[in-house]
Subunit: 440 residues, 2 copies
C-alpha cells in the first residue's frame, strides 16, 4: 500500500485552507482589475528548451522535467518541464502574441510554480506566484501605479503596518563607485549589501571584505547604504562626485514617491541598503515588509532587458510579485481573516424528519438556496439528535427541523446551534430569519 500523503513539498488544501486562499486571491484579483491589469494564464508545463538556461545553473537543477512518452519513454529523455516562474512564460507570450497585445501590456498572473528545492518549513515544491507586470514603457508612472496597486491589496486585506522600501540599481551602482568598490566586484557587493537587515553593518562589512572589496571601500559602502531616508545628504554626495546617473536615479525615486502619494497614503522609504538579489533588475527596486515577518511580503522592480528575450530585443518592463503563501501565513497567525471566511462553508443544514417527508426537506433546502444561503441537506433519515450532532461537528450555525407539528402549521423549527435557542418560524420567513442572525 503506497502512502496517502501528498508528495514531499506539496500540500493538500482542505476546505478551510482553500477558503482562506480563495479569499486572498479574490481580493488581489479585484484590486488588480481596478488598476487596469488583465489576467493571463499559461500552461503548467513548457517545452523544456523554453526554460533551460533561463535560471542559472542552480535553477536548471531545480526544474521538474517531464519524461517523453510512448516509444520514447525508455530513452529517459525529457521534452517538457514544469513552470518555474511566471516571468519566462510572460516573455514567451509577449513574443508569440506581439501583434494582439496592447502596446502597454499590464497583466496579472496568479498560478502555481514548481521547484525541486529541498522541502523545509515554509519552503514548498509547489507554490503560487502572484505577479503583476507592466510592459512597454520606461515611464516612472508605471512604478507608481504598481506600488499603489500593491499597497491597495495589502490595505484591503487588513495590513496597516507595512513598509515599502525603494531603491534603484543605478543609485546603488553610483554608491559603489563613490565608495571605491571596483566595477568587477559590484555584483558581489550587491549580494553582501542585500544582507544588511539580517547580519547588520559589521556583518556586511566583513562579507564585503571577504568578497575582495578593499577595507576602506567596504567601510564607506556600509556608511552610504543606510536603511534610513537620507535622500538630501545622498543628493549632495552624488552631486559632489558628479554622479549624474546616480542623481537621475534618485530623481526617479523621489518622483515615484511623490506620484504614489497622490493616490493615497504612501508608506515608501527610500532605502539605499535595499539590493534585491536578482541580477536582472536595471532600475527601481522595491520590497514590502511587515514588522513581525523576517523576509518580505513581496518585491519587484524594473527589468528592461528580460521580457524581450524571445523577441531578440530589449523591452522595458516593471513588475512586482506578491508572496501569496507568506501573506496567508501572516494573516492566519494574526487572525486577520473575516468570520465569513473562517466560519465554515454552510449557513444552515436542513434535517430529515422521516423517510416519507424527505421531499419537504429537499423543497425547503431549494428555497433557502435560491434566497442565497449556503445550505446542506442531511442525506439520511437518522435520529434527529444524530443529525444535530453532525451539524455541530461541522460548525454549521443553524439547523432546520420539519417536524409534524411545524409542517401542519406551515412553519419550520430553526435551531441556533451556537446558543441552543430554537424558534418556530413561518416557512416563508426562514431565509430572512437566518440571514439576520448569521454574522450578528
Amino acid at each position: 500500500m503506497s502512502s496517502t500523503k501528498p508528495p514531499g513539498g506539496t500540500r493538500d488544501f482542505l476546505p478551510a485552507d482553500v477558503r482562506r486562499r480563495e479569499y486572498v486571491i479574490g481580493v488581489v484579483r479585484d484590486v488588480y482589475e481596478r488598476y487596469g491589469f488583465e489576467p493571463l494564464e499559461t500552461p503548467a508545463f513548457e517545452n523544456i528548451e523554453t526554460l533551460l538556461g533561463k535560471y542559472g545553473e542552480e535553477g536548471n537543477k531545480l526544474i521538474f522535467k517531464i519524461l517523453r512518452r510512448g516509444e520514447h519513454e525508455g530513452s529517459g529523455d525529457a521534452d517538457l518541464a514544469l513552470r518555474y516562474d511566471l516571468t519566462v512564460p510572460l516573455a514567451r507570450v509577449v513574443a508569440q502574441y506581439q501583434n494582439d497585445l496592447p502596446r502597454f501590456f499590464k497583466r496579472y498572473q496568479i498560478q502555481p510554480v514548481w521547484r525541486a528545492d529541498r522541502p523545509a518549513k515554509g519552503r514548498f515544491r509547489e507554490f503560487y506566484q502572484c505577479d503583476i507586470d507592466i510592459i512597454g514603457t520606461t515611464s516612472t508612472l508605471v512604478e507608481a501605479d504598481i506600488l499603489s496597486a500593491v499597497s491597495e491589496v495589502l490595505r484591503r486585506l487588513g495590513f496597516e503596518d507595512f513598509n515599502i522600501r525603494l531603491n534603484h540599481r543605478q543609485l546603488l551602482a553610483a554608491i559603489l563607485r563613490m565608495a571605491g568598490v571596483p566595477a568587477a566586484l559590484h555584483d558581489n557587493a550587491v549580494v553582501a549589501i542585500d544582507k544588511l537587515d539580517k547580519i547588520g553593518r559589521d556583518g556586511v562589512k566583513h562579507e564585503l571584505v571577504a568578497r575582495g572589496v578593499p577595507e576602506v571601500a567596504a567601510a564607506k559602502c556600509v556608511f552610504l547604504c543606510e536603511p534610513i531616508d537620507h535622500a538630501p545628504s545622498m543628493r549632495k554626495a552624488l552631486e559632489a562626485d558628479n554622479e549624474t546617473a546616480g542623481t537621475h536615479a534618485l530623481d526617479q525615486l523621489e518622483e515615484i514617491e511623490r506620484l504614489v502619494a497622490m493616490s493615497g497614503p504612501s508608506r515608501i522609504i527610500i532605502d539605499t541598503s535595499l539590493a534585491r538579489g536578482l541580477s536582472y533588475y536595471t532600475g527601481a527596486i522595491m520590497e514590502i515588509s511587515v514588522p513581525d515577518l523576517s523576509g518580505s511580503l513581496g518585491g519587484g522592480g524594473r527589468y528592461d532587458n528580460l521580457v524581450g528575450m524571445f523577441l531578440g530585443r530589449d523591452l522595458p518592463a516593471c513588475g512586482f510579485s506578491l508572496g501569496l503563501e507568506r501573506i496567508i501565513v501572516v494573516m492566519t497567525e494574526r487572525g486577520m481573516f473575516p468570520e465569513s471566511v473562517v466560519g465554515g462553508g454552510v449557513d444552515l443544514m436542513v434535517t430529515i424528519w422521516n423517510h416519507d417527508t424527505r421531499g419537504d426537506s429537499v423543497a425547503l433546502a431549494g428555497d433557502l438556496r435560491k434566497a442565497g444561503l449556503r445550505v446542506d441537506l442531511y442525506p439520511e433519515a437518522d435520529k434527529i439528535g444524530k443529525q444535530f450532532k453532525y451539524a455541530a461537528a461541522r460548525q454549521v450555525p443553524f439547523v432546520a427541523i420539519l417536524g409534524d407539528d411545524e409542517r401542519a402549521r406551515g412553519e419550520v423549527a430553526v435551531k441556533d446551534l451556537r446558543s441552543g435557542d430554537q424558534t418556530s418560524v413561518a416557512r416563508a420567513d426562514v431565509a430572512s430569519f437566518v440571514k439576520s442572525r448569521l454574522h450578528g
Copy 2:
C-alpha cells in the same frame, strides 16, 4: 531560437479567455457552495505509484511522468506523475484525512488535469475538470442533490434547453439478462449500447452481434433500451421476469426524479439506453446534454467501490463532472456571456495632459478606482489623439481628460469613445457619471 507557441495540446489563455473561464468557474463555485459542497485542492503531481494502474493499460500510457532529479536524473526513472483526474486524488485525500473529514463529505474540485492524448480539435493535454462528489451514503437524496446542483449551475449560466438522461447500472444489467445476453458479455454489450445516439438502433444491433451477442438477444436488447421514458412498461416487464434488482433500480430512478422535481423544474428523462463507458459505476448513472452539441456537457453516477481504494474498504460515493471546456465552447458559440465579461477589462482610461500634470491624473485614477471602477492610467505624456487611439484599440469605453481649462474649473472632460460624445463633469461626479452610462 525555440518556438514561442505553448506546448502541443496546451493553451495560453489571454485576458479575454481568462475572463470567460473565471466567469463560468465563479458561477459553478457559487452554486456548489450554496448546495453545501466544500472546496478541495490537491497538488498537480502525485507520487507515481498513486496513479499507475488506476486507469487501465491505456490510461497508464497517457500519464505524464516526472523525471527524478539530481543524481538520479540520469537513470531516466520517474517518481512523480501529473494528476490524470480528480477522483484518485480524492480517494487519497479521503484515506489520509479520514478522521478530519465529515462523515458525509461533499466536495467540489476545479483544477486542471493532464493527459498525453494526441492533440486534436477540442482535445487538449491540459484541461480543467470540475467535479462534485458526495461520499459516505447510499441514500438517493445524494443523487437528487447533485442533479439539482448541476441543473442550477446550467440555469445560472443561461442554459434553458438541457436534458438530464438518467439510468441505472442494475437496471441495465436486468435488461441484458431479460434480453438473454450471456453474463460474460454484459460489459461488452454496455459499450455497444452506449453508442445508440451515435450509430442508431441498427448500428448497435450489429455491434452487439459482432461482440458475440446472439442475434435474438441483440434484437431484444435494442428493443428494451430505447431513448424514451417508458418506465411503466419497463416495470411490467421487470416484474414479469421477477427481476427484483432491476425493479429496485427503477424505484430508485423514479425516486430521484421525484426528489429533484421538489426543488425546481426537473429536466430528467429516464433513458435505458444511457450506458456511460466507465466500468466503475455501480448504481444510478446520469448525463447532461444540449441539442446543438454532440456528446455531453457533463456526466456522473454512483460508484460505491472506488473512493475507498486507499482505505482498503468500500465507501459509497456519487459524483458528477461538468465539462468546463465544452460549456465554454457552447457559451461562446451561442453568445451567452454577459457584456460585462466579454466587453474588456477596463471601464475608463485616465489620459496624461502633460508631464507636469501627471500627479493630477494619478489622483483622479485613484479616486475612480476607490469608487469601484476599473481604471487604466496612460503611462506617458503622448499626444492626446494617440492616447485616445490606444484606448479605442483596447475597447475602453470612456477616457478622462484633465485639460488646463477643466482643471481650472475643477472639472474633468469625459469622452465616450463608443458615441464620440464628450461631456465636462464635476470632478466629484465622474464616477457616478461613468457608472450610469457603462452598460446602459
